[in-house]
Assembly symmetry: C2
Homo-oligomer: 344 residues x 2
């Protein structure tokens, strides 16, 4: 590879002048340098530059599952926001694996100026270690319980669950099942807690045989709904705490011959790309995905500044909570008439 010395020699200047030219400063022999660069096909070594400056002009995004459309959209939001700032976005997919998350953090913290991540669990200690290295950090979608001093973007999980439960109760449902996410993750815990408090608010008794905890993956949604449907008293509606588990639950229901919504109303957290095309179209709590990523990217840019510019002054961390929205489609209908002898 041709290096800066070759260019300097060819242009008859010092390497310092080439650097200055590259940095956009005005130098006398700019044309000669430009020509030398073009002719030699010179590309500055990113590695050498990083070693010298300690900057990388890139950021990392670490998500638990890139094949979850929510995270794919989130990443898109980050990229769109970062593009005009001249920062490369490097993506890491931890595949819901703590070991892999750690490897990614270790790796990306050496190649980037800042990291946007959705920690696997609230007890995740990996981000703590990261913060000590001084790299800029933004949590998105998920939080950790200790170490509050980080920028973060979350959605209003509690409000979403409340809207879902209100909607079902408004349709006359009282036997409501739920498939929650892992209680050691922020969205899992917040949604589950909001569910219980919504039940309480509406005077609905929490029936353990109708409450299941999954792991946010498709298979756990399948298993959970099968158990729920085997309960002594079946529910008339079910709330599922994320998109993948909803998919699993719907598949299992179809296989079991349970008709949605006549046998069972279904409302899911997270919109799905094809939710409107499903049979029936799915009622969901939709939350911002692209926007959530973009918001996280903006927080990071505020902290890092633009490439080539001096870093902005440190400022207090920010917590953003984005609103969510109930989208009523066809998978929720009024509860069937109460069987004889039921309480009002």
């Amino acid at each position: 590879m041709t290096n800066i010395q070759d260019v300097a020699k060819a242009a008859g200047v010092s390497t310092a002048s080439v650097t200055r030219y590259l940095a956009g400063q005005t130098i006398r022999r700019a044309d000669a340098v430009k020509q030398a660069i073009d002719e030699l096909g010179y590309r500055p070594s990113h590695v050498a530059r990083s070693l010298k400056t300690g900057r990388h002009d890139s950021i990392g995004v670490i998500v638990p599952d890139i094949s979850n459309p929510f995270f794919a959209a989130l990443v898109k939001g980050v990229e769109r926001e970062m593009r005009p700032h001249g920062m490369q976005v490097i993506l890491g997919n931890s595949d819901e694996d703590a070991g892999r998350e750690e490897a990614l953090v270790r790796e990306l913290s050496q190649r980037t100026d800042g990291i946007i991540m959705a920690p696997l669990t609230e007890n995740d200690e990996i981000p703590l270690a990261l913060m000590k290295t001084g790299i800029a950090l933004v949590f998105v979608d998920r939080d950790i319980s200790s170490g509050p001093d980080v920028d973060r973007v979350l959605v209003d999980n509690a409000s979403g669950v409340r809207q879902a439960v209100d909607h079902l109760v408004g349709l006359g449902h009282t036997r409501i099942a739920a498939i929650s996410g892992p209680l050691d993750s922020t969205p899992g815990r917040m949604r589950h807690e909001a569910l219980l408090s919504s039940f309480e608010h509406h005077g609905i008794a929490a029936d353990d045989s109708l409450l299941r905890i999954g792991d946010f993956r498709e298979a756990s949604g399948r298993a959970a709904i099968q158990e729920i449907w085997a309960a002594p008293q079946r529910p008339t509606a079910v709330f599922v705490a994320n998109n993948l588990m909803t998919t699993g639950a719907l598949t299992a229901l179809m296989e079991m011959g349970v008709r949605v919504p006549s046998d069972l109303s279904v409302v899911g957290f997270d919109d799905l790309p094809l939710a409107a095309l499903l049979d029936p179209p799915l009622t969901v709590i939709a939350r911002p995905d692209v926007d959530q990523g973009a918001a996280a990217a903006r927080l990071l840019v505020e902290r890092l500044g633009e490439p080539g510019q001096p870093s902005p002054a440190p400022h207090p961390t920010q917590s953003l909570v984005l609103p969510v929205e109930l989208v009523v489609r066809g998978s929720t209908i009024a509860a069937p008439a109460l069987p004889e002898g039921s309480p009002a």
Copy 2:
């Protein structure tokens, strides 16, 4: 940050010995070095190491659209295959934008030892430039017309289209519409060519009013099906060349009140995560996604070798063509009885 000198000093050895320890060689004062590393929390600088060795122990994957489930799955396959080899996977999403693809290639070629990519078009010159830098390269899913000397993994597009057309013809369809992909991309061109030759093989006249070219994105599927449905003689079946356009077409059909499959049979290329849950369940050509990524990763590993090991001897490039498979679900049924006066 603590560096190798600090460790060497603390352990009372030279930096060379620390390097040797890190490389797994046996040195006399190994314990002291280990202790110094632990106490100081030393992490070798990846940047400095890369500058010196020219290796990165990581690979890049560049896809046109990470929110396309096909590419998300492909990336997953790459990561799963790479993990045991100790190589980090860095992901780039070009968002179907040539400028962004170029930026990613420029960036990742400086941070990785090899790149797996799906070039945007067959005329894409970016990979050619990349090959000149000597970095290892594997094409996946898409190819470029010039510069054949690259490892590649494709799927049997022609066979897939043939299976789809055979299936429709077998159901009695003769007025078959098609929404093809961009003719300057490998899958777009191959599928379109296979379509025309399948038509010819079955004696079906290609009707321009039923043939549309999209861009593999959802909106173009919507627009195309609307145009097709406005044709003087409507089709009884449509073939759509990828998943996103299929989604768009189905949405538009629903909005137009066209019933699938009674009004129109639909077969799509690419399976969808929710294809079985759609109304009706979608008949598709399913192709390997995770496996395609894993295969590409394997080719790259064969070329690069393991981190820390000497590189394997160069060997001829390989081209893999993976089989695809027709999955018949509910969106294709027998063609309606011919209107009076039609030819047999």
